[in-house]
């Protein structure tokens, strides 16, 4: 207990900044990944075969590739192709791509829960195909994926730990623990503090997700 207090006294502000950076990486990549995932989902509905093929490949690749392998490729291999992306955008890009693939996958499942009869009805009322998608299918699909999206957001928050694998100027929680463990003998207490920060963040997301779910769920 005493060493936890010492960690907080010595590294308190550093932990505050690390937690904020973890949250920032999580939020940016979730918003971007969610938006991109919606675009991919809708584009996959279009009756354009080449597009469907490419987007299905996209989803399978980014669902199955280990995030850290993707990050290392972006950070260390792309410069050889004269594509230079700074460390922080690289981390956000990695998590965005992975998040968008999972979002597209979950949304597709959500779309399958919408009754075909509704689509037929909307079409016969004269709505255009994209009109049906935007005002009938997507709203219901989005409401049905709150739970998997909450789990995805928590997984994404935990995945920000891979930022410790690149020399980011600021340190997020995992990188900070690694540094403290290297520098001093109070690593275990630093781990306890970081673990609590992750746990509390996860609980907050779970609680927010449950609140949203309660508000928007469709009782059938």
């Amino acid at each position: 207990m005493g060493s936890v207090l010492r960690v907080l006294a010595d590294y308190g502000p550093a932990f505050g900044q690390a937690l904020l950076l973890t949250w920032k990486l999580t939020a940016l990549s979730f918003v971007a990944g969610f938006a991109l995932g919606i675009v991919v989902t809708v584009a996959r509905l279009l009756p354009l075969r080449p597009l469907r093929f490419v987007l299905t490949t996209y989803v399978e690749v980014f669902r199955n590739i280990p995030s850290v392998a993707l990050l290392i490729f972006i950070v260390f291999a792309l410069p050889d192709l004269n594509v230079l992306i700074d460390y922080e955008p690289s981390v956000i890009l990695t998590l965005t791509l992975v998040c968008s693939a999972f979002t597209a996958d979950y949304l597709r499942t959500g779309i399958n829960t919408v009754g075909i009869g509704q689509v037929e009805a909307a079409r016969s009322l004269g709505l255009s195909p994209m009109g049906v998608v935007v005002s009938v299918v997507l709203p219901q699909a989005l409401r049905s994926v709150v739970q998997p999206m909450t789990s995805l957001l928590i997984a994404l928050m935990l995945s920000t730990s891979l930022a410790s694998q690149v020399p980011l100027p600021g340190r997020e929680l995992t990188a900070l623990v690694a540094k403290i463990a290297n520098d001093s003998a109070i690593g275990m207490a630093a781990f306890a503090v970081a673990a609590s920060a992750y746990l509390v963040s996860g609980l907050l997301i779970a609680w927010a997700g449950a609140a949203v779910e309660k508000k928007v769920r469709i009782l059938r």
């Binding site: 080449p50 280990p66 392998a69 993707l70 192709l81 594509v83």
Partner: protein, 266 residues
């Protein structure tokens, strides 16, 4: 019976719209080809097609080395899966126990292991345990944390399966005079397992992904061996591309197996 959503959405297009769709398809295909050509040109412009960057892929030693890495990945993933399946069962039993003294610690352990990044647990085994006098081998510094965090998820998957078994099954087994242990072992758990086999197999994908952190503890898995190849041949892009393709293939195969199992169970 039911038609696919796409067919209903675009099933009754006018001739004009159909022609438009066809034209759009061709345009998209052309745009994608241009994009692919641009990528190829970028490889060329950056000198990434030079023979020395690719020639070692023609050597058998390279593939033997990569295969060894893949084997290391699978060896670690397999052991982590075993740890997760066994410890997950222990955690499940604690979680379902009527005794608070067992239930609460089990819940705490599950929530803790699920809520902390695997990479952080790896750093604990790698940086912190040695200072406490506990020195693990590279294999265990990777496998143990991956197994532990998967165990917590597996425990929750088991629980979902157990809760999905109809209550009447338990009641009937009890009415026949089976002890609580026998009700679980002979009636509830086998049925629960049927529900969750696809989810358990899907969890394997996450285990394989997590073992990528093996290079952190210099355990000889695929990623670590790729780094060695890169150091030897100074060929970043080709090696990382090859490794990415290998990971995708392995995980895609597991995902497909899980989907097929899911269909069979239903």
């Amino acid at each position: 019976m039911s038609r696919a959503l796409e067919d209903v959405l675009f099933g009754d297009l006018s001739h004009k719209a159909q022609a438009l769709t066809r034209a759009a398809s061709v345009t998209v295909a052309a745009a994608l080809l241009v994009l692919a050509a641009a990528v190829v040109f970028r490889f060329h412009a950056a000198g990434q097609f030079e023979g020395r960057l690719w020639e070692f892929f023609a050597w058998q030693t390279t593939w033997v080395f990569l295969a060894k890495g893949l084997l290391g990945t699978l060896a670690s993933a397999a052991m982590a899966a075993v740890i997760a399946l066994v410890l997950g069962l222990v955690l499940l039993l604690g979680r379902l126990s009527p005794l608070r003294l067992l239930r609460w610690p089990a819940i705490a352990v599950i929530e803790f292991l699920r809520g902390v990044p695997t990479l952080l647990l790896i750093y604990v085994c790698f940086l912190l345990l040695p200072s406490l006098g506990l020195k693990l081998s590279a294999y265990w510094m990777l496998t143990l944390p991956v197994g532990l965090s998967t165990a917590a998820v597996v425990a929750e998957v088991y629980r979902a399966g157990v809760l999905a078994v109809p209550r009447g099954q338990t009641d009937a087994a009890r009415a026949l005079g089976l002890s609580e242990a026998r009700v679980f072992v002979h009636v509830v758990f086998p049925q629960a397992l049927r529900f969750i086999v696809p989810a358990l197999v899907a969890q394997l994908v996450i285990v394989v992904k997590d073992t990528t952190f093996g290079y952190v503890v210099t355990y000889g898995e695929l990623m670590q061996n790729a780094k060695v190849l890169i150091a030897n041949y100074r060929s970043l892009v080709p090696v990382y591309l090859a490794v990415a393709v290998l990971y995708c293939l392995v995980n895609y195969a597991i995902s497909r197996a899980s989907q097929r199992l899911g269909r069979r169970v239903q």
